[in-house]
Symmetry: C2
């Protein structure tokens, strides 16, 4: 047993020391760009439902009982527990919002390539994402009203949270690739614990601007109403914001104020642990 | 207690006898059109993952144990159980693939309007949808390969199944509206149990053609790669099918061979119970 454990540890280390040829600036950018589509889809789907306040209120059972958690929190905890049992969090790409100690009883085994530096892989900003999503983003997304579809609504919240978490915490992979590309510069800044210089090195305003304009455009294209008449070209230049399923400026703001800054926060934290 | 039960039953009946002004041919069409977007999004998301065969194989634990169910079935059963506990199936719009006898312990109470005729509301074709999805559609959607992300993959299968079930079993609402619009004709056909005549009355090839062409177009618009350069009009006339995240012809086929025929099957079955 002990020998097998050592062997497994050695294999994991080997997998890290010889990282898959798959991780490069190009593959990282491709992943992030593809996640934008998933993020826009998930926001559009959440916006189908009204705000449905009772789902977020700890006094939600209608019989006066006050629980310590809202329906949304209970639902997400239980859903994540099933996903944990099913092995979703074996992949370092996915990080749950709540910690579980359940065995992967449902999961078929799989040896994931470990591309992150083990001592830094734990870095994540899920608490900030949770708070941003429910307190800032959701009120901008959902119309007022209560249609009673609390489970379906919170299920769509969970889809938003999962992709935002995966996208933002992917900053660990971005940082790993950048570190490998210029080990000397990063090593000296990490050793000096120089957060500001690291943040500056990781920032490209021109690139960030491209991303923000692109996600806004995705909200316009994916959130329009398609008819079967007319040519395939979808002309949406003259449409007003109210025609879209989710306001494109909200998606721009999501990236500008939260996704990009939080990703860079993850990158800096990861780097600060990259030599541990 | 007994008095309260009678009162509740009376209220439910009242809610049905005085159906909400919301159900009309227009609102039904609007719902179905909006579901197309959700269906296309969910197919695009499933197509991100390779086929991941071990998730669908009853011998999946790698240690030779054979269970009676695949990972996918176990995962969907457990996820649906959480959703059932959370009250998702209180709304007649949603029908689970597996039956659960769990109390709605998490759910805030809500009085849904009952727009379906109670004795016919149970009609659904979930077994046919399950079999069509896994045996016919999935092999057309997913590329070969195994990336180990079984939980995330099957979670996206569940999203596809849920929206296909909601869309197809919405045939109950379509049939209810059509019945109310021409009670005399429908009543005589129902009393004669004339399935063929009912099917003919429910069929509009011109309308079905509009729907099929529209969903194909949605697959083109939502499945294209968006760049931040260039104008907002997205010109995709000259693109080949391989550029899209899900093959538009597969979405056309899904509606042509399965969604539309199964919906009409639901409509006929519902009508045959409409006078019970």
């Amino acid at each position: 047993m002990a020998a097998r454990a050592i062997c497994t540890a050695a294999l994991l280390l080997l997998a890290f020391v010889c990282p898959s040829a798959g991780l490069s600036l190009d593959t990282v950018r491709e992943f992030l760009t593809r996640e934008e589509d998933t993020i826009v889809f998930s926001l559009i789907e959440r916006a189908r439902y009204p705000i449905n306040r009772p789902a977020y209120d700890p006094v939600h059972l209608g019989d006066g009982r006050r629980l310590n958690a809202s329906f949304a929190e209970l639902f997400i905890r239980e859903s994540e527990a099933v996903q944990s049992k099913a092995g979703r969090y074996q992949s370092l790409l996915e990080i749950p919002f709540f910690a579980y100690r359940v065995p992967f009883t449902l999961a078929p085994p799989y040896n994931f390539t470990r591309e992150l530096y083990p001592a830094a892989a734990f870095v994540n900003v899920n608490d900030a994402i949770w708070s941003m999503y429910f307190n800032e983003l959701l009120p901008l997304l959902a119309k007022t009203g209560d249609d009673g579809n609390y489970a379906a609504t919170v299920d769509s919240d969970l889809a938003c949270l999962q992709v935002l978490s995966r996208r933002i915490n992917y900053g660990r992979y971005v940082a790993e690739v950048k570190f490998r590309g210029d080990q000397q510069t990063y090593t000296s800044l990490i050793q000096a614990k120089d957060r500001d210089a690291l943040m500056k090195l990781l920032t490209s305003e021109a690139q960030e601007d491209v991303v923000k304009r692109r996600v806004e455009k995705k909200a316009i294209v994916f959130g329009q109403s398609i008819t079967s008449d007319g040519p395939i070209e979808t002309s949406v230049n003259n449409s007003s914001g109210t025609d879209f399923k989710v306001d494109p400026s909200v998606v721009y703001k999501l990236y500008d104020q939260w996704v990009i800054p939080l990703t860079k926060q993850v990158e800096v934290e990861y780097l600060l642990h990259r030599l541990d």
